[in-house]
């Protein structure tokens, strides 16, 4: 069997998801042997953006026009295209800037903003059709493996579509929200981290991005009852996922 051709493309982000590929090192040598990586600038010289691919993995959010244009081309030449990590999936940290006027944010950083051509930060599926999501910040190993293998075997991927609370319960953690009144984002955040923060005595801060059909409104109301200011609630719901519909009900400042 011919080895599947893979391309990894980085847009605006910390490149942590590409590093995460190296962090999954127990499997990496096998993985590298099983696929042909045709394009990955951080890993190797050479590679062109126009070569047909079986799977294109996209990390980062889209913040400049050339990135959107290139992304559309990659979509055309790739059988499957998958956003990896919160930036590409839901906007992630780079999208925090969306809550302010773009120019206002730019002015705080650059004296001469005429050289800056930044767009609002949008996830990959704002521009092209995608074939699944690998969530997490950094992306999770389980979903990545599951999705890539499933696509290549032509089966339906079994991705986690429930919230962090499920994982937290399975770990027998005491609920930080109910028992200790900590403002935990677990109820609206997609699972995959194995309830990492609550297991470390810390409220979830939502880095996996919103769960599908999250009840953001109810959680925001709960936070309000607990005494959080509307600014604090707003910040919680805009750290990972400003451009997403799921968290919008939590982003209303009353």
């Amino acid at each position: 069997m011919e080895k599947p051709k893979i391309g990894i493309f980085k847009y605006s982000c910390c490149a942590g998801c590409e590093f995460q590929l190296i962090y999954f090192q127990k499997n990496i040598l096998e993985t590298l042997g099983a696929v042909d990586i045709l394009y990955c600038k951080m890993l190797q010289s050479g590679g062109i953006e126009e070569e047909p691919l079986d799977v294109a993995l996209i990390e980062g959010t889209i913040t400049e026009a050339w990135q959107a244009a290139q992304l559309k081309k990659i979509r055309e030449i790739s059988k499957y295209l998958i956003p990896i990590g919160s930036c590409a999936v839901c906007g992630g940290i780079p999208a925090i800037k969306n809550i302010s006027q773009e120019l206002e944010v730019e002015k705080r950083v650059y004296q001469d903003t005429s050289l800056i051509h930044s767009l609002k930060a949008h996830p990959v599926d704002h521009y092209v059709k995608v074939d699944g999501y690998v969530k997490g910040c950094p992306m999770g190993e389980r979903d990545l493996t599951e999705l890539v293998i499933s696509l290549l075997l032509n089966k339906r991927a079994d991705l986690l579509e429930y919230c962090v609370c499920v994982e937290c319960k399975l770990k027998n953690n005491i609920c930080l929200l109910v028992a200790y009144h900590q403002p935990c984002m677990g109820p609206v955040t997609n699972a995959g981290c194995e309830a990492l923060c609550p297991s470390n005595n810390r409220a979830c801060y939502g880095c996996w991005g919103p769960m599908k059909d999250a009840n953001a409104k109810a959680l925001a109301e709960q936070f309000k009852k607990m005494g959080l200011s509307s600014e604090d609630i707003f910040r919680k719901f805009t750290e990972f996922g400003e451009p997403t519909e799921e968290l919008k009900p939590g982003q209303l400042k009353s």
Binding site: C14, Q20, L32, K41, M42, L43, Q44, I93, V105, E231
Partner: protein, 418 residues
């Protein structure tokens, strides 16, 4: 003016982030490091965020040195809000910082730099011929990531790390388990130094002002004074009085100079120039054994300096864990207004964060200067001299030399355009 011959590198591979290099050849070569990583605007959107979100946000500046950004930001915020932390917290932070420096150096040396010296495009091509070395990289990196994870909960973007201290302290048995692994890879670390001292580093020399953190009695990582090889010796609070950052029209990162002076170099080689005598004795003996001498004005030797820091870092983690016991602590933080800055040694050199916080603990102003932004001008100067000295060579050779030089700095362009 006549049309100058030029070499253009459109997208430099095997570095963190995105840059092109434009090289105009001739009597006076002209170099532009065109960092085209899109503006990321962290200093812009940090404004309005809460002090206790900052660590989590800035760790996303970099996927290879998240601990450094977290540490520096949290130290700055603690300074601004007058938060004191325990000795235990300081030690655990130092262990985390070192574990990340070692892991970062390993990736740089084996995956990013080494392929150049053996004529490969990347690690995948090297794999069939360098199995032993790559296994060494993987084994060592795993232990260092395990150590970061042990304390931080996660190696990439740690979660237990907050202003005031850690949310969870691991049990003693977990520290003991990691001690065993650290002892195992110590011997491998010696081999790393051997691997890297075996690389044929290009012959090149250029004067530089080396800048690093320095402190009495330890190889400074998270605290100390800013000291240079040309006599600068200032407390961190004076950073803004001595260092100046400015925008250039061909790059999204800003450049830095020491006011009234010039460019400077930060990173492993700079650190060795400033505080070689504070390395562990075993490391100094090893350096002598491989014939490493200072001063060494060849920036390509930043690679070897990193290899020595890998060895030293592992020793240092061993000592710190062996000589301390860690217990649960309460985090105490009182929100108040203030401003403060901090400087730490990230893997690539000096990293500066500064924040102004209002009385509700919300960020009013932020300033971040990364190691690669500090090195930016110095890299261009080095390239200029390197090109000038090698002008008779074939264009492909010049191109490779330039790429090798930039990689020797282990730049992080994503960080530089934070």
């Amino acid at each position: 003016m006549s049309h100058q011959e030029h070499i253009d590198i459109d997208y430099l591979a095997r570095v963190e982030g995105e840059t092109a290099i434009s090289i105009k050849l001739g009597e006076q070569p002209a170099i532009e490091l065109k960092i085209f990583e899109p503006p990321r605007l962290f200093e812009g959107f940090l404004v309005g965020r809460r002090y206790d979100e900052v660590g989590d946000i800035v760790s996303r500046i970099c996927g290879i040195c998240p601990v450094s950004h977290m540490t520096t930001a949290i130290l700055a915020i603690e300074k601004a809000m007058d938060i004191n932390v325990s000795e235990q917290t300081r030690i655990l932070r130092k262990i985390m910082s070192i574990s990340q420096i070692v892991a970062s150096h390993l990736i740089h040396l084996y995956m990013l730099a080494m392929p150049d010296y053996y004529g490969y495009g990347g690690i995948m091509e090297m794999l069939p011929h360098f199995g032993k070395e790559i296994n060494r990289l993987m084994k060592m990196k795993e232990v260092m990531n395990d150590l970061t994870t042990l304390i931080g909960g996660r190696a990439l973007h740690p979660v237990t790390y907050m202003p005031g201290g850690f949310t969870r302290i691991p049990p003693i048995k977990d520290f003991n388990a990691i001690l065993g692994k650290l002892r195992e890879i110590k011997i491998e670390a010696e081999m790393v130094v051997e691997d890297i001292s075996g690389l044929k580093l290009p012959d090149f020399s250029i004067d530089a002002e080396y800048v690093a953190l320095d402190k009495e009695g330890e190889y400074a990582i998270n605290e100390g004074r800013i000291v240079s090889s040309s006599g600068l010796d200032i407390p961190v609070e004076k950073y803004k009085d001595y260092f100046q950052e400015y925008q250039v029209n061909y790059a999204m990162a800003k450049q830095s100079v020491i006011k009234g002076r010039n460019s400077f170099m930060v990173g492993a080689l700079a650190r060795l120039h400033i505080k070689f005598n504070k390395l562990q004795e075993e490391t100094r003996v090893l350096a002598k054994k491989i014939g490493f001498k200072l001063p060494n004005n060849n920036p390509f030797y930043n690679n070897l300096a990193q290899a020595l820091e890998i060895f030293d870092g592992i020793l240092c983690c061993l000592r710190l864990i062996e000589s301390n016991s860690f217990k649960d602590e309460e985090i105490k933080v009182e929100v108040r207004a203030g401003e403060g800055g901090a400087v730490t040694e990230a893997p690539r050199g000096l990293l500066y964060h500064w924040y102004k916080v209002d009385r509700k603990g919300v960020i009013e102003k932020a300033n971040i200067v990364t190691p690669t932004a500090h090195n930016f001008l110095n890299i261009e100067k080095n390239l200029k001299k390197l090109v000038k000295e090698n002008i008779p060579k074939k264009r492909d050779e010049i191109r490779l030399l330039c790429e090798e030089l930039v990689r020797a700095y282990d730049p992080c362009f994503s960080c530089s355009v934070h």
